[in-house]
């Protein structure tokens, strides 16, 4: 019922924006689509459906309004107690996961010939999580638009559902369900999480066929940052995982794109380095090849490799090798690697002599995309069992229209 109301609210808002656009003879962009994520192996599986709708309308010469909705409809089985006795994959004890997260966003863009300013607000909510996020981004183009600078800041005010009461970390139980979260229930509490994100980008056109981009990110998180449902066996009993309240994250990326004139294709290369105050360092490299096949039909191939080191407080077995006061069962905090192979197909429909489609659209595009993601966890085990769910698939369909 809630989903239906949100869909209706989004559709009504979009129609109002489009009506406003029609009245002002302005341009309107709209996109809609969905992605399906599936990860499975042994008794563990996770399915996520991600529908989304976005619209942007130029209501006046310098002003654009944006509105959007997206959701994560999650169902699956995850590990409740990490390192509970398990000799094989089949012996891993699982807990059922089922939740829907909605994210509503709205914003406006002010722009002129040399630059733009975006202001965006996001509100996301699910049974056990609430988030309010404010973001401001400024961008300017210099020197015949050959150089672009952009800088953005966002601040998120998040709340996470947790068990109520004061516990020693080694005695704290995990949250067994989201029942009673964000209500007057005496057994539930809400933990705060503040996120400050500063990002900047520098884009440069060097030659008629070569362009580059450098991006940096600095992010500070303060508050509750563990999965409240996950416990770790640290002795005879298990306790909810316990991580530092503060985390500082830094990332630097550099990418380049080169147009291969004889092939009518773009070659892309991207590298990213990351480091944070929990001790994780990572590197990723990506190679892409985007071929224009015929007309406005494009095919894109992509390969990505990612590797990271473990967090300073990560241990595969806290009974044999404890790491100070913190403990976690998060496999993404262990040393890991992943490889991604992606294929995307984009078709921009041709317009008629007047530059229109169906008499009212100025452009229409269809994007179909599929990714395979294989992860490798060299030092993470569920007691003695290997991680079973290491292969994931992501399939996306998107429609984009301009009127």
């Amino acid at each position: 019922m809630q989903l239906t109301k949100l869909c209706l609210l989004t559709v009504v808002t979009l129609l109002m924006l489009l009506a406003a656009a029609d009245g002002a003879f302005a341009q309107a962009n709209m996109s809609a689509g969905t992605s399906l994520f599936r990860e499975q192996g042994g008794p563990l599986h996770m399915d996520v459906i991600m529908p989304s709708v976005n619209a942007a309308v130029d209501v006046a010469e310098p002003l654009q309004l944006r509105v959007g909705w997206m959701a994560d409809i999650v169902s699956g089985a995850s590990v409740a107690v990490v390192d509970a006795p398990a000799d094989s994959v089949d012996a891993i004890t699982t807990a059922t996961v089922s939740d829907t997260r909605h994210q509503l966003s709205g914003g406006l863009t002010l722009r002129d010939t040399q630059g733009s300013v975006d202001v965006t607000y996001n509100h996301a909510f699910e049974n056990d999580y609430r988030s309010h996020n404010f973001a401001v981004t400024a961008r300017t183009d210099l020197w015949d638009r050959n150089t672009g600078f952009e800088i953005g800041y966002s601040r998120a005010f998040d709340r996470v559902c947790d068990v109520a009461g004061t516990f020693e970390p080694v005695e704290k139980p995990r949250l067994d369900s989201s029942k009673g979260c964000f209500s007057d229930a005496q057994t539930r509490s809400a933990r705060e999480l503040a996120i400050h994100t500063l990002q900047a980008g520098f884009t440069q056109v060097w030659t008629p066929v070569f362009t580059t981009r450098i991006g940096v990110l600095a992010q500070l998180l303060h508050g509750f940052q563990v999965n409240p449902y996950r416990a770790v066996r640290i002795g005879k009993t298990a306790a909810q995982e316990h991580a530092p309240n503060d985390r500082a994250r830094y990332a630097l990326s550099a990418s380049g794109r080169f147009w291969l004139v004889p092939l009518r294709a773009a070659l892309g290369l991207e590298a990213r380095a990351y480091r944070d105050s929990w001790g994780i360092t990572s590197f990723s490299g990506e190679l892409s090849y985007d071929q224009r096949l015929f007309g406005d039909v494009r095919l894109r191939l992509r390969l990505r490799y990612y590797a990271q080191g473990r967090a300073a407080f990560y241990s595969d077995d806290y009974m044999l090798a404890p790491k100070g006061r913190y403990f976690t069962g998060d496999r993404e905090l262990s040393a890991m690697r992943s490889a991604l192979f992606g294929l995307a197909f984009r078709w921009q429909l041709p317009t008629d002599e007047s530059g229109h489609l169906l008499g009212f659209l100025s452009s229409f595009a269809l994007v179909l995309k599929g990714d395979l993601l294989r992860s490798f966890f060299d030092e993470f085990h569920y007691d003695r069992a290997e991680v079973p769910n290491t292969l994931a698939q992501l399939l996306s369909l998107e429609l984009r229209a301009t009127m």
């Binding site: 992605s35 989304s52 976005n54 997260r101 996001n122 996020n133 973001a135 981004t137 020197w143 015949d144 638009r145 050959n146 150089t147 800088i151 953005g152 966002s154 998120a156 998040d158 990002q199 980008g201 440069q204 056109v205 030659t207 008629p208 066929v209 362009t211 991006g215 990110l217 992010q219 994250r249 830094y250 990332a251 630097l252 794109r257 147009w259 004139v261 294709a265 773009a266 892309g268 990213r272 990351y274 944070d276 994780i280 990572s282 985007d290 224009r292 990271q308 998060d330 993404e332 905090l333 890991m336 992606g342 994007v367 995309k369 993601l373 992860s375 994931a392 992501l394 996306s396 998107e398």
Partner: protein, 77 residues
């Protein structure tokens, strides 16, 4: 550590100045930007499906960031 940071600051400023100088000299004229106008050559035009993929990667890796500056994110990782 402080000394190291202080000594590397002039070098970083020099590199930034050289980069900006090179950028200003790289004058590609508007009429020469036919290939740069291809969608595959622009940054930040990836759309919804790329956002969904980034959302998945943020949840399946221990790191984040370095991409587009727009939007922000709700911290739902």
């Amino acid at each position: 550590m402080l000394d190291s940071a202080s000594s590397s600051r002039p070098l970083l400023l020099l590199m930034a100045a050289i980069l900006c100088g090179l950028a200003a000299c790289a004058g590609v004229r508007p009429e020469d930007k036919e290939h740069l106008a291809e969608p595959a050559m622009s940054y930040g035009d990836e759309g919804m499906s790329e956002q969904h993929e980034q959302h998945v990667l943020d949840n399946r890796e221990g790191s984040t960031g370095g991409g587009d500056t727009r939007g922000g994110g709700c911290g739902c990782n």
